[in-house]
């Protein structure tokens, strides 16, 4: 018996060592989607039993569901069996040097002013990672310092896989409570196969001592196509979280279905900012990412506040409605969005503000910019429950057209079941004017700079919500996304 055990142990250890040391082939889940895939992922992550059960429940549910088609999007049907659901980042295609990179992408890096070592990491140059960590942070110890500082404040900031193992009670308490498993097709799929993501917990009364951003930038490479984020701000806590990366990722995953859940308790505030510029496909709409994201915040506590800010410039198809469920009395939800579509891109994005709490307020500012032959839709819901007295909402949707072949659509839904609510909706659509372009050019700006300037002015209300460093990159990005779109 003892011998057998020892043998087994040895085998396990050996296997583990082997698994640990190998790369590429061993880090793929088998192609296709089945319960085995789900088990494979869960096992890979050393997840506890409850987590596996939770995933399997979602998977079984997902099998009974159908992909939604109510959005104004033209999406070719996706073969879910013809995809890998788990691949470690090591499996990302590597290249030997930046010389092998698509010159277009390289040029964009340079325009964004990204340091050369960081460019290498983004492009997946072999062996660049370690260097870049040093380049970005000076040394690894700085990252460790960050971590120590966060821990001293009591902030938990972990990959979600780690958090599931280390803080199971906290994760279990909130996972799936904001976006339930059955919420929608893509969210359910995410529940079954999420690869990794981030967990943040800010304890009562703590103001997170730093924006959770630069740190994330390193981690970002490790997050896969089914990302899962859970942020909980306990009573009186505050956190500003930045998601995304402003350099174009060479990403081979076609389908991204992330879920982000935010929870704000009494007097807590979460500011969540996103800059998204995944590969949008070429001028003819070949390739590009499908980005089907479910983002939702639960403003559970009194006077809690969640503010979403997003700058969406990438992906071939964007399907995304960061929302706030305003349960708490006097809770506040905000949504600031800039969505840019060019060439054949399609974006159907907006928000939902669900007012259940008395005196809850929401603000929606959406700026859609369409160019080329793209389609850009704002879709938003403002809902006021019967018991919610004194609700206020202000919505402003502006669309800017840069060509005569693009589309801008605004689809506001308003459901008010309490007569005391004050709901305002303003919408404008305008075309970038030749007068503006000529005026800016006659002062010395070339056409691209002139377009970028005018577009940035149009989007200013939203951009100024972003933290400073992010705002600067986002501004450059708007210009780059629209290059060659006028004239």
């Amino acid at each position: 018996m003892a011998t057998k055990n020892a043998e087994a142990h040895a085998a396990v250890a050996k296997k583990y060592e082997w698994g640990f040391a190998t790369d590429i082939e061993q880090d793929f889940a088998p192609k296709g989607l089945s319960e085995d895939t789900v088990r494979y992922i869960s096992a890979k992550k050393n997840e506890p039993e409850w987590m596996l059960d939770w995933r399997l429940k979602a998977f079984r549910l997902w099998q009974t569901m159908e992909a939604p088609d109510w959005a104004k999007l033209n999406i070719p049907s996706i073969d879910y069996q013809d995809a890998y659901y788990y691949a470690e980042p090591k499996a990302k295609a590597t290249i030997a040097s930046l010389d092998e990179l698509d010159p277009e992408i390289l040029r964009t890096y340079q325009k964004l002013g990204i340091p050369i070592e960081e460019q290498k990491v983004l492009a997946g140059v072999e062996g660049a990672r370690k260097v870049a960590v040093d380049a970005v942070f000076d040394s690894v110890s700085v990252a460790t310092t960050f971590r120590a500082e966060l821990e001293a404040a009591g902030v938990i900031f972990r990959s979600i896989s780690e958090a599931i193992r280390e803080y199971p009670d906290l994760v279990r308490k909130w996972l799936g409570k904001v976006v339930p498993q059955h919420d929608n097709y893509f969210a359910t799929l995410n529940c079954a196969v999420f690869s990794d993501g981030t967990f943040v917990y800010i304890p009562e009364g703590v103001r997170c001592p730093m924006e959770l951003s630069t740190y994330f930038r390193i981690n970002a490479e490790n997050t896969g196509q089914f990302e899962r984020t859970l942020i909980v701000a306990d009573k009186g806590a505050y956190v500003s979280y930045l998601e995304g990366c402003t350099a174009p990722m060479r990403d081979e995953n076609q389908l991204h279905a992330a879920v982000v859940e935010l929870v704000a308790l009494d007097d807590a505030e979460i500011k969540y900012s996103t800059v998204q510029n995944w590969y949008p496909g070429d001028e003819n709409g070949v390739g590009g990412i499908y980005n089907f994201v479910t983002k939702r915040a639960l403003c559970q506590g009194k006077r809690s506040k969640v503010s979403w800010t997003q700058v969406e410039t990438g992906s071939a198809v964007t399907w995304k409605y960061p929302s706030c469920v305003l349960n708490g009395e006097d809770s506040v939800g905000e949504f600031y969005s800039v969505a840019v579509t060019n060439n054949r891109q399609q974006a159907d994005t907006g928000t939902k503000m669900i007012h259940n709490g008395k005196g809850s307020r929401s603000t929606i500012v959406s700026k859609g910019i369409s160019a080329g032959r793209s389609d850009n839709t704002y879709r938003g819901l403002v809902k006021v429950a019967p018991g919610a007295e004194g609700v206020r909402n202000f919505t402003q949707c502006d669309s800017l057209l840069l060509s005569d072949q693009c589309g801008a659509h605004t689809v506001p839904y308003i459901e008010v079941r309490n007569p005391s609510a004050q709901i305002e909706h303003e919408a404008t659509t305008s075309k970038i004017s030749e007068d503006q372009l000529f005026y800016a050019m006659s002062r010395g700006l070339d056409q691209e700079a002139a377009v970028a300037l005018i577009v940035n002015g149009f989007a200013r209300e939203v951009l100024q919500q972003l933290p400073m460093e992010f705002a600067v990159e986002a501004q450059k990005l708007l210009g780059i996304s629209l290059e060659g779109s006028v004239g």
Partner: protein, 247 residues
């Protein structure tokens, strides 16, 4: 400095300029006067490089360069400034941001170092003060919510900051009250009345010319210059009308 030879231009197939010739030398101020629809603004736009205008014959050189081959921003970098009759609003972009980006773009084209935020602000504030414009206006979005007079004054602030070699001012006097007219006139003299610079003033009325004394006055009618004279020609036009004089 600027040499226009037998310029023909049309828009949407309609001929507007029909053989216009004009030469402007450094140190000179020329006024172009003429009735509505004569092609005054078209001349400004063609010289400024506005898309949509097709030059069908003739040539324009600026310091020996073929102006018509250059994009609007290249003309600006070469030292040409177009003051707009209707300055354009750019929501969300502050005057400071707009002008600094524009100036630094020009400087980059000329291989000059960009101005820092501090250097630029000093320059812009000085120009605003000289034109009796509140420095707070510099922070406001370009021309948004400005009165007609404020817009024109803002054009002069831009001209002062950019400090061009050659300015084409299209009805810069329209929409100005008496005080503003004097301030703008003084601005033009201060910025542009220099031996190495020149101005083309496009105007309907003689009144701006009381402040900015032209060396030459041209009458533009039906796409051509029909008469040229000194400052006294403007007075004659004012007295007798275009129909008499231009004929």
């Amino acid at each position: 400095m600027l040499k226009i030879d037998n310029l023909h231009a049309e828009i949407d197939g309609k001929a507007i300029l029909k053989g216009l010739s004009l030469e402007v030398n450094p140190g000179e101020i020329h006024a172009i006067m003429g009735p509505n629809g004569a092609g005054k603004s078209t001349l400004g736009y063609v010289l400024g490089g506005r898309p949509g205008y097709e030059v069908t014959a003739g040539s324009v050189t600026f310091d020996g360069q073929d102006l018509l081959e250059m994009a609007a921003n290249e003309r600006a970098a070469a030292g040409l400034f177009l003051g707009f009759q209707y300055p354009v609003e750019i929501p969300g972009v502050s005057n400071v941001q707009f002008l600094r980006e524009a100036l630094n773009a020009q400087r980059a084209t000329r291989d000059e170092k960009p101005l820092s935020g501090g250097e630029f602000l000093k320059l812009a504030r000085a120009q605003a003060a000289a034109l009796e414009m509140d420095a707070e206006m510099l922070k406001r979005p370009v021309n948004v919510g400005f009165s007609g007079g404020e817009k024109k004054r803002n054009e002069m602030v831009q001209m002062g900051v950019i400090d061009p070699k050659f300015a084409i001012l299209d009805e810069t006097d329209s929409g100005l009250d008496i005080d503003a007219l004097r301030i703008v006139g003084d601005g033009i003299n201060r910025i542009m009345r220099k031996p190495d610079k020149a101005v083309l003033l496009i105007t309907h009325y003689q009144r701006l010319l009381d402040y900015v004394k032209p060396d030459f006055v041209h009458v533009l009618a039906d796409g051509r210059i029909t008469r040229t004279g000194g400052a006294e020609l403007a007075h004659e036009l004012e007295r007798e009308g275009y129909t008499q004089v231009a004929a």
